[in-house]
């Protein structure tokens, strides 16, 4: 039964007998189709096709081996007309993806920017290699990179970015273009701000809540991924030990007369059972990758909250500065010293200023106050703008997250169903063989 609901782009997976490739495809399509109306993807298909190894000299002139990924793009129209011309393509390495992402983070601080797949394999269960050159890891990274590009291409704001477009279409000179935007300076100051310690008096409560949520999400998803990996490890052990039955039954059948055939064929099913776990766990890795994406998303969420704190802080600082200047003016005008100040003390000790000196000071202050008021107005607008645009994107993100994770959990259930069905089949076959003993 197909439950199609809401906007037609939401495709609910309709049957349980999907191959893992179809499953993956469905998940991707679900994520992408939502935005189709507004995004770059309306115009072009994007995919990360293959990966290749290259050698080259790095910045310290040492030989290194790295992997490059093939990015293929093709205008959507071409396909729908029934002709499929060859896609345009270029090669990019992981560090270039990182550069692109940093650029986007800096240029659109109010956007929750999609994360990149892991640089190094971290949360793995022991059968999976932690080696960056391992073909399975490279393959999963390829999928992750494609996912990243699709996320950006389907984002209502990011998809229009020129640097992003060039990343997809022009191999040479892209890096230089990025640096020409002057983003490096912004990136440095952003980094400094991220790490600075400051206290905001009046942050928007929603951002505070969001920050807590992203911390909670990070903790719980990390834990979930770790436990899942351990469960997978153990399950692997259970299945694989059954392989021994296959071997021993086969040997035993050689010395038996009536039991021989039954044992021999039962043994084959035990071997099949032991072998079946490899595919099962490979599929589960896709599920883990989906969770990992949202684990990494928490960093982007925190970055947006941080940016809000920063703008809010700057506003508060500007306001505080203005207030203090106004107060100084008042004191000068009324001649009273309300607050303790060194100036006040020195003037008491060394005599008051002359009228001209006071007048000059007042003029400076007036100027500063005017500028200060401008600044506060600017900062206010900036802060409001940020809160508004950021919150729009956060709502978008929340909806995306709820949809994606719902689908992920459903696909997990489907995987378990498939595993159970396989188990039923194999053990039923084994049972029939035992019956013949």
């Amino acid at each position: 039964m197909m439950a199609v609901s809401g906007p037609e782009e939401i495709a609910v997976i309709g049957n349980t007998d999907l191959t893992s490739a179809e499953l993956e495809n469905n998940i991707k399509n679900t994520m992408v189709e939502i935005e189709k109306g507004t995004s770059l993807l309306r115009k072009m298909e994007i995919s990360v096709g293959e990966a290749e190894k290259r050698t080259g000299k790095n910045t310290v002139n040492m030989l290194e081996i790295y992997t490059v990924y093939l990015i293929e793009t093709r205008p959507v129209d071409a396909v729908t007309e029934g002709i499929t011309p060859a896609p345009d393509s270029l090669w990019r390495r992981y560090s270039e993806f990182e550069l692109l992402r940093n650029y986007l983070l800096v240029t659109y601080p109010f956007v929750v920017v999609a994360p990149l797949p892991e640089k190094r394999a971290e949360i793995v269960w022991h059968k999976l290699s932690a080696d960056n050159m391992d073909p399975d890891f490279v393959e999963r990274r390829r999928v992750g990179l494609e996912n990243f590009l699709l996320r950006v291409a389907s984002h209502p704001v990011l998809c229009n970015d020129k640097i992003f477009y060039i990343f997809l279409t022009e191999e040479k000179g892209w890096k230089e273009m990025v640096y020409e935007t002057g983003f490096q300076a912004k990136a440095d100051s952003r980094l400094k701000a991220m790490n600075a310690a400051f206290r905001v008096k009046n942050p928007d409560k929603r951002f505070t809540e969001l920050k807590h949520y992203s911390d909670e999400l990070q903790t719980v998803v990390s834990q979930l991924l770790r436990v899942r990996a351990r469960v997978a490890d153990r399950l692997y052990g259970v299945y694989k030990v059954h392989g021994n039955y296959g071997r021993i039954f086969s040997e035993w059948s050689a010395i038996e007369k009536e039991m021989g055939d039954g044992l021999q064929s039962a043994g084959h099913h035990m071997d099949a059972y032991a072998a079946s776990v490899d595919d099962i766990l490979e599929e589960e890795e896709h599920y883990a990758d989906q969770l990992k994406e949202y684990l990494f998303y928490t960093e982007a969420l925190r970055a947006v909250c941080r940016k809000h704190e920063l703008t809010q802080f700057e506003l508060e600082m500007a306001a505080q500065d203005l207030a203090s200047k106004k107060q100084q003016k008042e004191e000068l005008v009324t001649g009273t010293v309300r607050t303790f100040s060194l100036k006040g003390m020195t003037s008491k000790l060394f005599g008051q200023e002359t009228a001209e000196q006071r007048e000059a000071k007042l003029q400076v202050l007036a100027q500063q106050i005017e500028e200060g008021e401008e600044t506060v107005k600017e900062k206010n607008t900036e802060s409001d703008e940020f809160v508004k645009t950021a919150w729009v994107d956060i709502e978008r993100f929340k909806d995306q997250k709820d949809r994606d994770l719902k689908e992920a959990l459903i696909s997990y259930a489907i995987m378990q169903i498939s595993r159970c069905k396989k188990g039923i089949q194999l053990w039923t076959n084994a049972k029939e063989c035992f019956n013949k003993m």
Partner: protein
């Protein structure tokens, strides 16, 4: 009189073993004659035989009808072992089991007996049966101690496992056409505790036992020269079978271990989804749903592991012990033949009283013949039992596994169904179900 034990049948006594031997029991009255019994164990076997019929030993093989009784039609003795109780004395603590016997056999005075026995008593019975029928295959007892795994003798699981094995042991003997007629068996089932103690004290004295052991060692050192081909074949089979069954036992125990460790991790896994649901709004139902599914699968996994431990592990282990029993039986048969061969050679070489020696040799020859036939008969019986037991154990395991996966499948399908029928918009949920 020393030296004439181990199921030696005097050629003057004749042997007939019809399929249903209960009718023969009418002639027995040796219950009252423990003296006779203890001095000459031949009567223990002879008592089964109708002394009035003359049959040559050679025709004995035709008399052995060991076919499986048809679905217990002719089963006339039912034994249960249950109700373990712990007893504490000044010197030791031990467990006794209740042994309940219900029978229609006429050699039993009553139709129902209830006695309490401890492991030592079972050991004694086994020893007596093997002594009297050295080449019959007596079902093994559970081990005296378990080295790895259970450390405590008084652990509930250990006691239960042992109880089941003791139950099986007695029932196997009861099913055996020859062994079930043993006097020792009858005494075991019927005598009160003090009676049994007295009874046990009878039997060949220490010196005669020593003599027997020395002879056995001498025979095994001598070795058998002309072992019939079929027994060599059986020996080779037993070697291979022993290896295989031991490996299977180990593999199965390993599976239980891995499954238990998997279960431990699974128990932590579900709650993590529940924890996550605490931070979410839209996803609460799905996350709790998944947590619930995992929890239910945990319960099923626990049951499945339990079944494996209760059914397949003990069955395989039993046959590991059987293999050892078979090896011992084959050794004893070899010894009997070796003794005969030695005496035969002596006839040719030594200057002894040829007549006396010849008589002894004839006796030994009969003994060999009898032993061989006993073993051959019991061998077929054992093979059928083994096949039946192991087939049933593996079948049961496969069935349980299918059941396990079916139950887990239902759990996840229910969850999936709940997700699909639910509308993703904020409409009434009452409409869908």
């Amino acid at each position: 009189m020393s030296g004439t034990i181990d199921g030696v049948v005097s050629p003057t006594q004749t042997i007939t073993i019809p399929a249903d031997i209960s009718g023969q029991m009418l002639d027995l009255d040796e219950d009252d004659d423990l003296e006779v019994f203890s001095k000459d164990a031949t009567l223990a076997d002879g008592s089964m035989f109708n002394a009035s019929m003359q049959t040559s030993p050679g025709s004995m093989v035709n008399q052995y009808k060991f076919e499986e009784d048809e679905e217990g039609d002719s089963k006339d003795i039912f034994i249960t072992v249950d109700n373990p109780e712990s007893h504490v004395t000044a010197i030791e603590t031990f467990i006794t089991y209740r042994v309940l016997t219900k029978t229609t056999r006429s050699e039993f005075d009553n139709s129902e007996y209830e006695v309490r026995r401890r492991y030592q008593d079972f050991l004694w019975l086994k020893g007596k049966l093997e002594e009297a029928h050295s080449t019959l295959i007596v079902h093994p007892l559970p081990e005296k101690f378990v080295v790895k795994g259970m450390v405590e003798r008084f652990n509930g699981d250990f006691i239960e496992t042992r109880r089941k094995a003791l139950h099986k042991f007695l029932n196997r003997i009861a099913d055996h056409p020859i062994l079930s007629c043993s006097d020792d068996f009858k005494v075991f089932l019927t005598a009160q505790a003090w009676e049994l103690t007295t009874y046990k004290k009878q039997g060949p004295g220490f010196l005669s036992r020593m003599g027997e052991t020395v002879r056995a060692v001498a025979n095994s050192v001598r070795g058998v020269k002309n072992r019939p081909e079929e027994f060599t074949a059986i020996q080779e089979y037993v070697e291979d079978f022993s290896n295989k069954i031991t490996s299977l036992d180990k593999v199965t125990q390993r599976i239980v271990k891995e499954q238990k460790e998997y279960l431990e991790e699974l128990k932590e896994y579900g709650p993590t989804y529940t924890l996550w649901s605490g931070s979410e709004e839209e996803l609460v139902e799905q996350l709790k749903g998944v947590a619930g599914c995992i929890e239910r699968c945990c319960k099923e996994t626990e049951e499945q592991v339990g079944h494996l431990s209760d059914t397949l592990v003990p069955a395989l282990h039993e046959y590991v012990l059987c293999a050892e029993t078979l090896k011992a039986v084959l050794r004893r048969r070899d010894n009997i033949q070796a003794e005969f061969e030695a005496k035969n050679e002596a006839l040719a070489t030594k200057k002894v009283d040829r007549d006396a020696l010849k008589e002894e040799i004839d006796k030994l020859e009969d003994r060999v013949e009898w032993a061989n036939n006993a073993l051959k008969g019991d061998w077929g019986r054992w093979q059928r039992s083994m096949r039946g037991d192991l087939k049933s154990a593996f079948l049961s395991t496969a069935e349980k596994n299918v059941d396990y996966y079916e139950k887990c499948l239902a759990v996840w399908e229910t969850f999936l169904l709940s997700q699909r029928t639910e509308p993703s918009e904020e409409t009434d949920r009452d409409d869908t179900s």
